[in-house]
């Protein structure tokens, strides 16, 4: 089963919490915007991605089963 990381950019406030949890996938750059580096990370990152979902103070991140 594939899965995807989706960020609701209307909710995201670029506080980079997700980047602290999973820098391979989430990056807040100099322009203070969040970039999703890899929308379909490997399964080995699933637990970390779920942690990022729980930790996002804006609840802007979702994991969507493809």
């Amino acid at each position: 089963m594939g899965w995807r990381v989706v960020v609701d950019m209307d909710l995201c406030e670029s506080n980079a919490v997700c980047m602290a949890v999973l820098p391979e996938v989430f990056e807040v750059r100099d322009d203070d915007l969040l970039y999703v580096l890899d929308e379909t990370p490997p399964d080995s990152m699933r637990a970390k991605a779920e942690e990022a979902v729980a930790r996002c103070p804006k609840q802007a991140i979702a994991i969507v089963e493809a």
């Binding site: 980047m19 750059r29 729980a54 103070p57």
Partner: protein, 401 residues
Amino acid sequence: MLRRIAVVGASLAGWHAATTLRREGFDGELTVIGAEAEPPYDRPPLSKAFLATGDENKVALAGVADRESLGITWRLGRRATGLRLAERTVGLDDGSEVAFDGLVLAGGADVRTLPSLPVGDGVHALRTLADARALRADLDRRPGPVLVVGAGFIGAEVAATCREAGRDVVLVEAAAVPLERAVGAEIGAVCGALHRDHGVDLRLGTAVVGRDASGAVALGDGTTVDAAVVVVGVGVSPATGWLEGSGLTIDDGVVCDGTGLAAPGVVAAGDIARWPNALFFGDSMRVEHWDNAIDMGAFVARRLLAGDDWDPAEVFAPVPWFWSDQYDRKLQMAGRATGADQMQIAGGTLEERRFVALYGRAGRLVAAFGMNRPRHIVQSRGLIARSCPWDEARELAAAWT
């Protein structure tokens, strides 16, 4: 083997403890006791998006909508009033008792008020959703200036939210500089100036004396403020009243060991818990931040389940982290500036209101406070976690533009 676990406090720490217990395979009886009528919700929006919009969707906490699927007995609107440690029971305010083998104390903190300014008749405190609803209703009902007492993070957010809604705001702080204990005098002054930038009437070094019959609030400097609505934001104290005399050590929080254990089979997490943080020279800490309630709630759930099998070397030693939204600025802090003997500005300037302040103690980076520098706060957090030497941190930060 634990068969019955009780969680006291149905908020952020309690919710994460309970869900972690289930995720880790605990399939015994799980009871969550919460004094508020609402199932767990998110507090930070109460002074931000909820206060601005009144939209209750803003306080929804992920996963809570499915709370009935977890096999938890929810005792909401019920307060725990007594702990009998030897008998392993918690007494509730309806006279009933909940028996447990394992107990999670996650009662958070109660908002402090001022004897000179009793809540009611336009005077508010802000901790719960009920408080926030009442404050919003009063703001709608009473046009005119808002007086905020206390320029800590929550007072500052209320001031900012009200200002952005077009209200005149007077912000009164008893200390000469806001937030001095958290961030030092220089950065505290910048946090204060942020409000003046936005037209807040900031009065420092003056305390509230009282309120007269007309509702005017008298200040220590002899002036009076005629406010339509008053918000008292003078901090919180851990909700430990009911635990006095229980046999647990209570000292500005439930005192735990480095793993969050307060007594055999009893753990504490979130705003209520005090523990020695090995990463910060073993300083005794109590952290009133959102992130800590999540982290520690989950940690102590695992700690409780492991019992005597826990490796004592695995201690709870996080880098505390929080944010505060004020106007168009994101304030964030990682670590603790307590006892700092060095400070350095990087990644911008105080005048731009975009910078990172790094704090060093005993040759190590111990804290970083940022205004609109989220990325560098995340980086700093990593550096603090690995006890980065001060000189190395300064060098790295010199490249932050």
